[in-house]
Symmetry: C2
Subunit: 634 residues, 2 copies
Amino acid sequence: MHDRTRSEYRTQLSQELPDAAEVTDLRFEGPDLVVYTSTPEVFAEDDRLIGRLASSLQKRLTVRPTADARSSRSEAHAAIEDILPDDAGIRDIEFHPETGEVIIEAEKPGLVIGRGGRTKRRVAAETGWTVEVVRTPPMESETVSNVRNFLKQERGDRRSFLERVGESIHSGPADPEWVRVSTLGCCREVGRASFVLSTGNTRVLVDCGDKPGAEGEVPYLQAPEAMPLTDIDAVVLTHAHLDHSALLPILFKYGYDGPIYLTEPTRDLMGLLQLDYLDVASKEGRTPPYDSSMVRQALKHTIPVEYGNVTDIAPDVKLTLRNAGHILGSASAHFHVGEGYHNVVFSGDVHYTDTRLFNGADNDFPRSETLVMESTYGRRGDHSTDQADAERTLVDTVRETVRNDGTVVIPAFAVGRSQELMLVLADAMRTGELPTVPVYLDGMIREATAIHTAYPEYLRDGLRERILYEDENPFLAEQFEHIDGGSEQREAIASGEPAIVLSTSGMVTGGPIFFWLDVLADDPANTLVFVGYQAEGTLGRRIQQGRREVSLPRWDGGRSRVTLQLGVEDVSGFSGHADRGGLMDYVRTMSDRPDRVLCVHGDETATNQFSSALYDEFGMATYQPRNLETFRCD
Amino acid sequence: MHDRTRSEYRTQLSQELPDAAEVTDLRFEGPDLVVYTSTPEVFAEDDRLIGRLASSLQKRLTVRPTADARSSRSEAHAAIEDILPDDAGIRDIEFHPETGEVIIEAEKPGLVIGRGGRTKRRVAAETGWTVEVVRTPPMESETVSNVRNFLKQERGDRRSFLERVGESIHSGPADPEWVRVSTLGCCREVGRASFVLSTGNTRVLVDCGDKPGAEGEVPYLQAPEAMPLTDIDAVVLTHAHLDHSALLPILFKYGYDGPIYLTEPTRDLMGLLQLDYLDVASKEGRTPPYDSSMVRQALKHTIPVEYGNVTDIAPDVKLTLRNAGHILGSASAHFHVGEGYHNVVFSGDVHYTDTRLFNGADNDFPRSETLVMESTYGRRGDHSTDQADAERTLVDTVRETVRNDGTVVIPAFAVGRSQELMLVLADAMRTGELPTVPVYLDGMIREATAIHTAYPEYLRDGLRERILYEDENPFLAEQFEHIDGGSEQREAIASGEPAIVLSTSGMVTGGPIFFWLDVLADDPANTLVFVGYQAEGTLGRRIQQGRREVSLPRWDGGRSRVTLQLGVEDVSGFSGHADRGGLMDYVRTMSDRPDRVLCVHGDETATNQFSSALYDEFGMATYQPRNLETFRCD
């Protein structure tokens, strides 16, 4: 099968390439077809040649010059400095002779690429090296630079890994025997998202998360549908939140050696959150189920995919990720099985409308017979406030607290909600709706924010430009202060001037939020504001439901019994999740409305009421699976 | 776990046994606990000792004397002949020194056993040998004697097999992690019955059949829920029909080496039908998926279970079979999982009311949260005629045909329907409702009938006595003639005097029925009578639906195109399956009505309408699974 495929590609290339083009070798690297050529100038001269080939081969294409077609590194270095404009802000130029690639890191990648890719192609034509461009993050991010350095260092290993994956994607039968979805978690509950999509030939694991507030409850990876883990063909991660990603590294502990498909920002955020997961576990005296070497293993096996690119991930499965509007890099995953045989969409966590940070979810899948759909806010009454109203309420609450000399503390996911709140607060302070007071970012919020600025392409249209071109990066506003000291710094802030604190974790299950509750609890002038979903079993949920006597773990390992005398407010409308209306709209506006929907990622009432509503409104077959079930789709 | 269990049994035994009893060893053989004793007389003296022990240990118990506690074979032989009454009709006495058992085959086993087991115990007390009694079939059956001889010959191997199974049943965790049912076939279709019941620790395969009329469609044994087949812990066969049993031997081809639990008659019928399955396949030029050595493997791995006996089949699963009323030895299988954790019933094929042959299905399960239920006649209109009316119609049709000098041909399953019809015809001829004409039994019908007479305990109360005690065996009536010649004999019958022919196969998919249709087609005086379910895709169904131009395979390998000019009649009411009312009654009268029912073994309309009816009438959760799905039960 595979050899036939390779020779088919060769035949097609020879028909479509100009006579002058010499192809010396064809290889698969992961989902990509790599064309080695001794005449790189032929490719560089024609603006649209590679695009035309990619589209007629229906294949992502990389063209690499053979070694003798390239100029020396020093010549190439000089040519690059000569060709690129000074204001591109070149930070680093790195040559990889084994692939003929040169990686250029720049503050303004657009200027390295040039209009329609012209500048980049000119470098390629003059030097014979293939150019890859990466952006220097406007805020320094340890995560981004660690991830990039690690992947650079592993480049050799990764290449053989990609070749191995490439061979396996391009071999084996392309006709599926069946299509099934198995639920390893996340059914009639929020947490431990994990599913297997299987075709008889191929098994794809979608997500592998933990369950906030119930650390022992992990995905049922021991189910026969997932076993042996070594035989899974591919993993797809919809987004980096721990309830989708926390247990991914454990796959490598049990011998999985295949790829993880995800967006680039999801890759970086995943690493950040998984390391934090280990850190929190060890602080809480739990033995984490894997160690940091497994996080590196996971990272090493990532294959980034851009929104909208159709990517072969198995002989009979193509993956397309689309923006899910939930957090940075979050995606809905579309699987095209066989040649037009069946289509399954996993919504992942979605936000249907635009927010300040992100464009609303993109549900424009050409076909989708089966939909596995999140249902977090699927209850009949789950109508969330308009964000404009929510912002007003938040600003009012903050203003009132500040006026009373109090401090506002907001438990927030480091990734997503925090940046949304930062934009709201910065804007309110800019327009004078709020007095400018310090906004302290505790936990990983600053780092997560820096990662956002490294991937402006993934942000909402207007915001992207503000960060990229206008140097109006709102995240750099001076009232934002990262907490980098210890408890003294926090105590000083708590007893000092009015301020706002954004602190992890978002559901009050760990992290510095415990400390803030402890030190702010006594003073009724302070306010605790919930802005996000609080899952069953979390302390956040219990406080939200009226509990005021709480026991908080202290840094020293003891626990404080605390009576919460501070105000507690619930501001809905900031959720990263679509509300009931948004969920219905997501399904209603799909280009091809599915025949069946599995309602998952919601408590029992939510999945029940949402599936009934979908059935009533659209007449589609709807299910509320339980964990450990398997559904036939085709 | 296992050692603790064994020592627990030992402790309990020592508390409950009289002081004089010496237990030298305890072993597990399959589900049984074998007690070795040097004082067999202590067990033989007390009528109820073994029964009391078995019930307090909740364990089937076998007591075996140690070698030095036994008299010599010749002494024992003399003692047996001395003790047993002459009219017991002893046919064979066989000693097995390795187990201390003596197997006595007798025409009247009751006389060997004696009232309350007295005679049998007296033999044991006087000789030190343990007595096992088997019945000599009133009709000679090649199958029964082949099976018995084979199992005798394999006794050594079987003993180590049983010890291995015994160890595995009594080891491992007894707490199930979950309870699931997976569908490998038989969903929205009739045929290829096969299910997996799994608990996280244990996997049990229930049935493994073919699909009549669609030979290529076999159970999805390659589903991950069943793989690897070598790791399956136990197989349970509900009854011998090929749509439940045909593919069982293939498990051994793929390395399965565990037990098959079934009733004794199912064991014998299974062997008969599987060998016939191979024979038909080779006659039709198909390559069968296994050979006869695999049938022997299957036979060698059987562990017979009696109706109502609770049997440990895994550390966390107990099996109880109950009469399903469908064919000889047919059973519904009740699985008790964990210690009161969950109960699943597989109805198997059921007939709810009494027939001439069998008592109606026994649905008296103490608990049953989940029911996997057959739905063959689950449609709204599937009301079958009362059997009395059906018998009248049949007798009228036969009488009319005979009066017109015609021959009646009835395609019938060798097992079940044929014997029912024999009883009806014999009775009508005895009372003069029908003239006495020859009834020819073609295919395996005579052999199947002989097997029925070997297991009278499995027949309806009144019939059992007629066969056992009154020497009024209706199957021995002289008008029944087995076809043992070739096509000449059949041609002579077809052109001769009026007669009745019962011929396999029951759905006109193979066997001598093709020949009969061929030779009887031309004469409108002849009548073809359907008395059983004709599955989708079978020739029987097509003729039933009006097709009269048919192509029939000939013995010589060619095909005849034939126009059926004989009469075609449909006599409903003889089905081995409950009709819609019977199915509803089965569920209605269960001692513990299930929370959820999976409706299987019926076409799409039947499972759909039956599951709606169950939901409407009892408010239970009902499902119509598809093949390759998995449902959580607990």
